[in-house]
């Protein structure tokens, strides 16, 4: 027991549900507190359960982990390697000023200290644009160009590197927030595709989300307990996005009713997603090859190549300018 864990002045610290040692975290949704070791065990169990329940990984499969330098992707990479999965990382430099510089440093340090393989792609160097520039050139929110670029590049890197599966750090809060948004709009097509596993199909690797049973408070705590130095600062381009508002709304529900987020999302997977399975199957029909890059697409030129085309010739746009344009 460290000096800081010791009860002082008669105050009794909360105890781990399993071993009765002083707890480091309270998890109201489990109606329990946990010490560091048993918290890590809980996280491993939740990730293993997600992988097995949804058939995410086959034994011995090499996994490409989408790494941003933030808590979720580094926790995911750490958890997968901890569970014995062969997992390499891919980091995409998005060109979001100091934020991207720092996030890259966190990803590289994590990989270096653990002897893991990290591949890097820089949008500006290799495709002539960055996320702030794409936001201004397309007139759309930065998160749109960011997501599109990352999806395309992760798919391509998996194909080129012979990885059958790409793992992303989407957690329970992410998935519950997306589900909340899709439900508010009754976006049936998006609801049908909101699954923790998207099967491989022509030209696309399988996509898996092993952290869907962990909240982001839990992934951050995993990093703290494991001594992982992740990027705490939030992406400046995500300020004020709808996703954050949905998370805040769900956290207010969670405070009143612990376990509400898990019941909402995991209940959707158990009871609603099966009813939408036909819709999900329809969505994979009718894919062609992009005439420029060969990626699977529903049109002649894929969305990524169209984005590269629209941003061609644009000089770099500073983050502040992209944000100012977005607020107008």
């Amino acid at each position: 027991m460290s000096a800081t864990d010791r009860p002082r002045g008669g105050h009794q610290p909360s105890r781990c549900r399993v071993c009765k040692e002083p707890a480091v975290i309270d998890l109201p949704r489990h109606n329990a507190n946990f010490c560091a070791d048993h918290f890590l065990e809980l996280c491993r169990r939740q990730v293993t359960k997600a992988i097995e329940r949804f058939g995410m990984l086959a034994p011995g499969e090499r996994v490409l982990v989408a790494v941003s330098g933030g808590k979720d992707s580094l926790a995911l990479w750490d958890l997968l390697t901890d569970l014995g999965v062969e997992a390499d990382g891919l980091y995409v430099g998005l060109g979001i000023g100091d934020y991207s510089d720092t996030s890259g440093e966190h990803a590289r340090r994590f990989a270096r200290e653990r002897g893991l393989v990290l591949t890097e792609i820089d949008l500006r160097d290799e495709y002539g644009y960055d996320v702030p520039t794409a936001a201004v050139a397309t007139g759309r929110v930065p998160c749109s160009a960011c997501g599109l670029s990352k999806r395309h590049l992760f798919d391509r890197a998996a194909r080129d590197g012979g990885y059958p599966v790409v793992a992303t750090g989407h957690n329970l809060d992410d998935e519950a927030a997306v589900l909340y948004g899709n439900t508010l709009r009754w976006d049936v097509e998006m609801l049908a595709r909101q699954l923790p596993v998207l099967p491989a199909r022509a030209g696309f690797p399988r996509k898996v989300k092993p952290l869907v049973r962990l909240t982001e408070r839990e992934t951050a705590a995993w990093c703290l307990v494991r001594g992982i130095d992740y990027l705490v600062e939030e992406c400046p381009m995500s300020v004020g996005n709808k996703h954050l508002g949905y998370k805040e709304a769900l956290n207010r529900l969670e405070a009143e009713s612990p376990g509400a987020k898990a019941a909402f999302y995991l209940g959707f997977l158990d009871r609603m997603a099966p009813l939408l399975a036909d819709r999900a199957a329809q969505a994979v029909d009718g894919l062609e090859r992009c005439l420029r890059c060969g990626a699977p697409t529903t049109s002649e030129i894929c969305a990524f190549c169209r984005l590269v085309e629209r941003t061609a010739g644009h000089g770099p746009v500073p983050v502040e300018l992209a944000l100012a344009r977005g607020r107008r």
Binding site: I25, S68, R217
Partner: protein, 64 residues
């Protein structure tokens, strides 16, 4: 106690002793969206924070 907050990084003084969940409430911060770190160690929300503690309240919500 000195309490370090993030986004942006800043420091506030809060008198102790005080349980972590009340410090969060004083600052208008949701428990589900934050971790409390006392003298470099993660602590649960009912941990008592003393006047001489160095506390960080770390947000965990990502926008992506």
């Amino acid at each position: 106690m000195k309490v370090v907050l993030r986004n942006p990084v800043r420091e506030v003084d809060i008198p102790g002793p005080r349980p972590a969940y009340l410090v969060l409430a004083d600052l208008g911060l949701a428990r589900e969206a934050h971790l409390v770190i006392r003298n470099g160690t993660l602590v649960p929300s009912d941990a008592r924070l003393e006047d001489d503690d160095r506390v960080e309240i770390r947000p965990v919500i990502s926008g992506g």
